[in-house]
């Protein structure tokens, strides 16, 4: 009975469990820090379990739809509504399921890591509640099949994120980063809202499937597309709208930064969902595809060149995050540019998209890992300045190992996961346009150069007198980092399995606009 209820309500529970967890956290926090930590970790474990079961369900039996407030989950179109789905509907296809999995894995790592990293701060009840709400925002964005609902979760994501960026006040600097993030997110949110209003005004619907089946690509739709792309690409941190990322990423507590990476990927998912599912073939896919490719190339190149001169290790990693986002945009942009040509799509378009999508989960793992190692170093030494750090390889061996794994993965060195997805992108993009592939490779080399420098200045050299007291990071931190690095290595050793099980269904779900519409509106 219980099991049946859970299995029938997976998409709702995916949101309801962390939400209930977030709301109850302040109350349970009254009982003491230990009880609260246990509770939040249990909630996050339950969320991850639900995400895994949901993903398995989606992969075995196709897109899962969930209608809120209806007699049954698959009752998308009420009998007396004239064929219009009036209720809020979650449409979890393989792409969405893939994103929920990626987000909840990083969420668990971050939660474990936070047990130590936040243990010296005040106001931890609020911290964990907001952390869980941020997870809710991310999961909601990638599950929802309703434009307005997407906006609501985007706002939850932005508000929780901004509050968490400013969590460690740090003489007001973090508050500045948080305010910047909040203002820009609100601006982006308003653009999204306005675009949704334009679509709603024309097609009398908010459901993505209904909108997709009716969309005409009128001038108003084009304006809506531009606003959606600009706002979501900004939230994803793509150049030239990347300027908030260094401030927000470097000032947030490291655990939060790792989750912010996933939060920005949820916006990236929004970009893909809008262009592939909402607009699909109606838009001028060659032009839009090239726009996304150019955004990607700019992000890759500007991100990495800005990263090289940075002195602050987290700021440096933030610019690398911008740079890596470029790979995802490049891969999926190439897929979009050949969307209308089945032959080219088969020969390299799909591979490019798979590479881009694979890079999303890889990036979430290794970039999360790198931010967590930076946080561990900051936790023990109290500085993020590369010029002051040094010789930590003597005392923080495990952190060093995890850093090496993350750094080699981000630079695309085999056998780590970054190599697997980057190789797919190089090979397919080379067939599309050799110049783009060469730029991508050069950026990878620059990334490696930059991380060699970071590695050298943090870990190498003689033991410095001011860090003589520094010890290895606490165990919960190591477990959090270990979880992510294990996945980095596993995904790197068995890329083909991951691609077959998770990535290929996700890419084909993204291309299959008709399937998405049919899953909500039936037959068609």
């Amino acid at each position: 009975m219980m099991q049946e209820i859970i299995l029938q309500n997976l998409p709702a529970l995916l949101l309801a469990v962390p939400m209930l967890g977030a709301f109850a956290t302040p109350l349970i926090g009254r009982a003491g820090g230990g009880a609260r930590n246990l509770w939040t970790v249990a909630v996050m474990l339950a969320t991850l379990a639900i995400a895994i079961v949901l993903t398995a369900q989606v992969l075995s039996s196709g897109t899962v739809v969930y209608t809120f407030g209806a007699g049954a989950a698959d009752l998308t179109v009420p009998a007396d509504s004239g064929g219009i789905p009036v209720r809020i509907i979650f449409t979890v296809d393989a792409m969405g399921a893939f994103m929920t999995l990626s987000a909840s894995i990083v969420g668990l790592g971050v939660m474990l890591y936070s047990l130590s990293s936040a243990s010296r701060s005040t106001g931890q009840n609020g911290y964990y509640a907001l952390l869980l709400l941020l997870v809710v925002g991310i999961l909601g964005m990638v599950c929802t099949g309703d434009m307005f609902n997407f906006f609501v979760f985007l706002e939850i994501n932005s508000l929780a994120g901004a509050a968490l960026v400013a969590y460690r006040v740090d003489k007001g600097v973090a508050v500045e980063g948080g305010l910047k993030y909040a203002v820009l997110s609100t601006l982006g949110g308003l653009l999204v809202l306005f675009a949704i209003a334009l679509l709603y005004g024309q097609y009398d619907a908010l459901n993505i499937a209904v909108l997709a089946s009716r969309i005409q690509f009128t001038p108003l739709d084009q304006i809506a597309l531009v606003m959606l792309l600009v706002a979501l690409a900004m939230k994803a941190g793509a150049v030239p709208m990347h300027f908030w990322t260094p401030d927000a990423y470097s000032m947030a507590p490291s655990a939060i930064t790792a989750l912010l990476v996933v939060a920005s990927q949820a916006s990236l998912y929004g970009v893909f969902r809008v262009v592939f599912t909402l607009y699909g073939l109606t838009l001028n896919y060659v032009t839009i595809g090239w726009i996304i490719i150019i955004l990607g190339v700019l992000s890759m190149f500007v991100g990495v060149t800005m990263a090289i001169p940075q002195k602050d290790v987290k700021r440096l990693m933030a610019y690398h995050a911008v740079s890596q986002t470029g790979y995802m945009l490049l891969g999926v942009g190439v897929g979009l540019a050949v969307l209308g040509n089945p032959q080219l799509l088969d020969s390299y378009g799909v591979i490019a998209m798979e590479g881009g999508i694979f890079h999303i989960i890889n990036h979430a793992m290794y970039k999360g890992l790198l931010f967590l190692t930076a946080g561990a170093i900051f936790y023990r030494t109290g500085t993020r300045n590369l010029n002051q750090l040094g010789g930590l390889g003597h005392s923080m061996k495990w952190t060093m190992v995890f850093f090496i794994i993350g750094a080699l993965a981000i630079a695309g060195i085999p056998p780590f996961n970054g190599f697997a997805s980057k190789l797919m992108i190089y090979e397919s993009v080379f067939l599309f346009n050799p110049l783009l592939a060469i730029i991508a490779m050069v950026v990878s080399i620059l990334t490696l150069a930059s991380f060699v420098k970071v590695f050298h200045s943090i870990f190498m050299g003689p033991r410095l007198p001011e860090y003589a007291e520094v010890r290895e990071a606490p165990t919960p931190m190591l477990i959090g980092m270990g979880l992510l690095s294990l996945l980095v290595v596993l995904f790197g050793i068995f890329p083909q399995e991951v691609v077959d099980i998770l990535i290929t269904p996700a890419a084909s779900a993204l291309i299959d606009q008709g399937g998405y519409i049919a899953s909500v509106l039936g037959g068609a």
Partner: protein, 154 residues
């Protein structure tokens, strides 16, 4: 620092009326314009009026920050639990399960102009109340926190 006696007395006098008006908006959320959020905001203005009229230490003596936090949490939990109970009846999240079970909040809605019946609409009034107490707690806490940062002059 207290405001003058006139302000304090006026605040004392107005406070119960603001509360009643706020709860009226919350409880009639499913019948008239307004609802949980609006009513909660009105109630919070009543609290803010008291905060302005009295000094911060005096206020925190009578109204604890912890109590307001609890109110907030209680509202949120009531909301999500009401939505979750629906799963137990074999329907989906957020379904109006009260309409199917009991005599409470279950009258059929009259058609055409009518004086309005509070005993309708199932879980909607419950969720309005939940949002109402959540908002009154949260807004009051926000103002109270901002007040704690102000410097007392004179």
């Amino acid at each position: 620092m207290n405001m003058s006696k006139i302000v304090r007395e006026a605040a004392n006098l107005l406070f119960p009326f603001i509360l009643v008006f706020g709860f009226y908006i919350v409880l009639h959320g499913h019948l008239t314009p307004g609802g949980g959020f609006q009513g909660g905001a009105v109630i919070a203005t009543g609290f803010v009026l008291l905060f302005v009229a009295y000094s911060y230490p005096q206020i925190t003596e009578r109204i604890g920050v912890g109590a307001l936090h609890n109110t907030e949490t209680l509202g949120l939990l009531l909301f999500i639990v009401t939505a979750l109970i629906a799963l137990g009846f074999g329907v989906t999240f957020f379904t109006n399960w009260m309409l199917d079970i009991g005599p409470i909040l279950n009258n059929p809605v009259a058609f055409g102009p009518n004086p309005g019946d509070l005993n309708t609409a199932g879980v909607i009034p419950v969720m309005n109340i939940a949002v109402g107490i959540e908002v009154l707690g949260a807004l009051s806490v926000i103002v109270l926190y901002m007040m704690s940062g102000t410097k007392e002059t004179i």
